[in-house]
């Protein structure tokens, strides 16, 4: 059929036929696969999504006297400088050193500011050596002044992604955006039919050395990305769960701020929106048929992010055509959807790449080696000390009260035992609520006498089979001093307090980031 050299000749002569992946769906539907494969030379793809695993290698040049950078900060965001003397890696998700700024200005924002040509404050501490005597340095830098600024993203362009929903009754703030309680909304993060790796699902054309669109400049694929996986179930050739990934490299000095953006997922952290597009050479009919995949034909899974474990429950399967209607049905409820990646920008990426090729500004390259399409799985991280579960800890038997108790008796129980809260259970031992000294004080003030009228019915609980670390996060999040432990049937099993937890897992919480 065709070769990449032949296509490049056509590009040179200005008569290559280039279409984007959305257009290809219609071309194949109208003209048939055979004709489309002959006619079309290149299909362009595009995505513009939050890609946390992104960053940049920077070289600052040597000061006089010279310094061996040890602790390095750009606009108060730490960059990793444990490589040589004046090299550093600026990671997108690094939060600000100032906890009040936290994720609202992090590594991703520094990357954007550099690409915008803004001045950035550089602060360095060092230990001083004979050859690098300087121990402190403060100055301003800009992209222009840096020797090199290479964006190197270890994991971009996920081939398909999970769709998120939240079954719990509290709002969750995740890397999949804000998830409303009780299946309040659904978020997804793939450009679907335009997405690069969905259009070449077996990596027939993509590999190390493939020239691509990266943040408005020409960049390169430099290998498979971290967590690259190939063994997931496939529908129409496309894995139904997050699978293939790419490592990308590009020159920040040539990038366009229109196609890169520092962002922050609320209460999660900073992330970088990266615009990436891959041209797919139509070398044969098989490759052509893969690029003709429509949103309808791309299956993905809705996952319950309410369960903070490695494997989260699958709610149902869906496809991008359904997600893109803006509504989706789960258990007879109609739920609004949000794309988290910008489909508008993804189209712009694919269109601009198309224009570059049509104008003879961009030539295709043959990869030196192809991204592996089989045999790659992602291993989990096994923790040496397995995560402790709530049921494994020795909790004291809880002191209990009943809904029919009188408030004054409850008050004396609180005082006698010198505690702040008591679980309320019915005759069968099922948890019905919780009462705090504040509730009691309030009841006395309002002249209420029965516990069932003053107790708090919505209780934050710990389930027996939850890891203690998850409970620690819950205690932190709600700023509470303890919570009741219940089994599957809501029977009260004990109480767990903040002190129990800090004794068990120690105080080493990192307060940076957050909001």
């Amino acid at each position: 059929m065709k070769t990449i050299d032949e296509i490049n000749d056509k590009i040179k002569n200005g008569d290559a036929v280039v279409v984007n992946a959305a257009e290809m769906v219609n071309i194949v539907a109208e003209n048939g696969l055979k004709e489309a494969a002959e006619e079309v030379d290149v299909v362009t793809t595009g995505t513009f999504g939050a890609m946390c695993s992104s960053g940049a290698f920077l070289n600052f040049g040597h000061s006089d006297p010279p310094i061996k950078m040890n602790k390095t900060f750009l606009n108060n965001v730490e960059v990793y400088s444990g490589l040589a003397a004046v090299d550093a890696y600026l990671g997108a998700t690094q939060p600000n050193e100032n906890p009040e700024i936290g994720s609202s200005y992090g590594g991703a924002h520094v990357i954007e500011d550099l690409i915008r040509g803004k001045e950035v404050e550089l602060k360095v501490e060092a230990y001083g050596t004979d050859c690098y005597p300087l121990k402190k340095l403060e100055t301003n830098i800009s992209l222009e002044k840096l020797n090199q600024a290479s964006m190197v993203n270890p994991r971009n362009c996920y081939q398909n992604y999970a769709v998120a929903v939240n079954s719990t009754d509290e709002t969750l703030y995740t890397y999949m955006g804000t998830l409303l309680p009780n299946f309040g909304n659904v978020t997804y993060s793939s450009a679907g039919a335009l997405s690069p790796l969905i259009n070449d699902p077996y990596f027939q054309t993509i590999g190390l050395g493939t020239r691509i669109f990266l943040c408005g400049a020409q960049g390169y694929i430099i290998g498979e990305g971290t967590q690259h996986a190939t063994e997931a179930d496939r529908v129409n050739g496309v894995p139904v769960t997050p699978s293939g990934t790419l490592m990308l490299k590009g020159d920040m000095k040539k990038m366009d701020p229109e196609f890169v953006r520092g962002a922050a997922m609320p209460k999660y952290g900073p992330t970088l929106y990266v615009g990436a597009g891959i041209p797919i050479p139509i070398l044969n009919e098989d490759i052509a048929s893969r690029t003709a995949i429509s949103d309808q034909e791309i299956t993905c899974r809705i996952i319950d992010y309410g369960v903070p474990r490695r494997s989260r429950p699958i709610i149902r399967e869906t496809n991008y055509a359904e997600l893109k209607t803006g509504k989706i049905e789960i258990d007879n409820m109609e739920i609004p959807t949000s794309p988290l990646s910008s489909i508008k920008k993804a189209e712009e990426v694919a269109e601009l790449l198309k224009k570059w090729i049509q104008d003879g500004e961009f030539y295709l390259s043959s990869p030196i080696y192809k991204i592996p399409s089989k045999g790659c799985t992602v291993k989990p991280l096994e923790i040496k000390k397995p995560s402790l579960l709530v049921k494994n800890i020795e909790s004291k038997p809880a002191i209990i009260v009943h809904p029919s108790d009188e408030v004054k008796n409850v008050a004396s129980k609180l005082v006698e035992n010198n505690i702040n809260h008591l679980p309320v259970v019915d005759n069968k031992g099922k948890l019905k609520g919780i009462v705090t000294s504040w509730d009691v004080a309030d009841a006395v003030a309002k002249g209420k006498t029965l516990l069932k009228d003053v107790m708090t019915k919505k209780v934050i609980i710990a389930r027996e089979n939850e890891p203690v670390d998850v409970i620690a996060r819950r205690i932190d999040k709600y700023n509470i001093s303890g919570l009741p432990i219940v089994d599957e049937e809501d029977n009260l099993k004990g109480m767990i307090t903040a002190e129990d937890i800090s004794r068990l897992i120690g105080e080493n919480q990192n307060k940076k980031g957050g909001e």
Binding site: P266, Y273, I335
Partner: protein, 128 residues
């Protein structure tokens, strides 16, 4: 029409609003209210034949009335049309157009600020 009402502390405790609703037979929808002894602020939607007269009346009674066209402002430079805000709006004021641009309908918006908080690029601001 949408308006922001400002009360001085001296009139917070008076029943001006309920009187106004009764006299002018208007639909009066309170979208947001922050009232304290120091005075108050209300975001309201007023409709009905005598809406304009009712506003004059409230002004006579000492309430400052500021008609508003925009409850939130979407910064076009910052917005990347990601759509993260769309499914979060409690009153469906945010929509995705055919070209995948994200638009906020200020007529529907109640200024709850939920989208403001969740926008990854902080592109939406509630107007004061």
């Amino acid at each position: 029409m949408k308006a922001r009402l400002r009360f001085s502390p001296s009139i917070v405790s008076k029943t001006i609003i309920s009187d106004t609703i009764r006299i002018f037979d208007i639909n009066f929808n309170i979208l947001r209210a922050d009232i304290s002894p120091k005075g108050g602020n209300m975001l309201v939607e007023i409709s009905g034949k005598q809406a304009n007269d009712s506003i004059l009346h409230m002004e006579e009674q000492g309430i400052q009335v500021f008609p508003i066209k925009k409850v939130v402002k979407q910064d076009e430079e910052k917005c990347i049309d990601c759509g993260a805000c769309v499914s979060l709006c409690p009153v469906n004021a945010i929509s995705i157009k055919d070209d995948w641009a994200v638009e906020i309908d200020n007529q529907t918006c109640i200024g709850c600020g939920f989208c403001t908080f969740s926008c990854p690029t902080k592109a939406i601001n509630v107007m004061e």
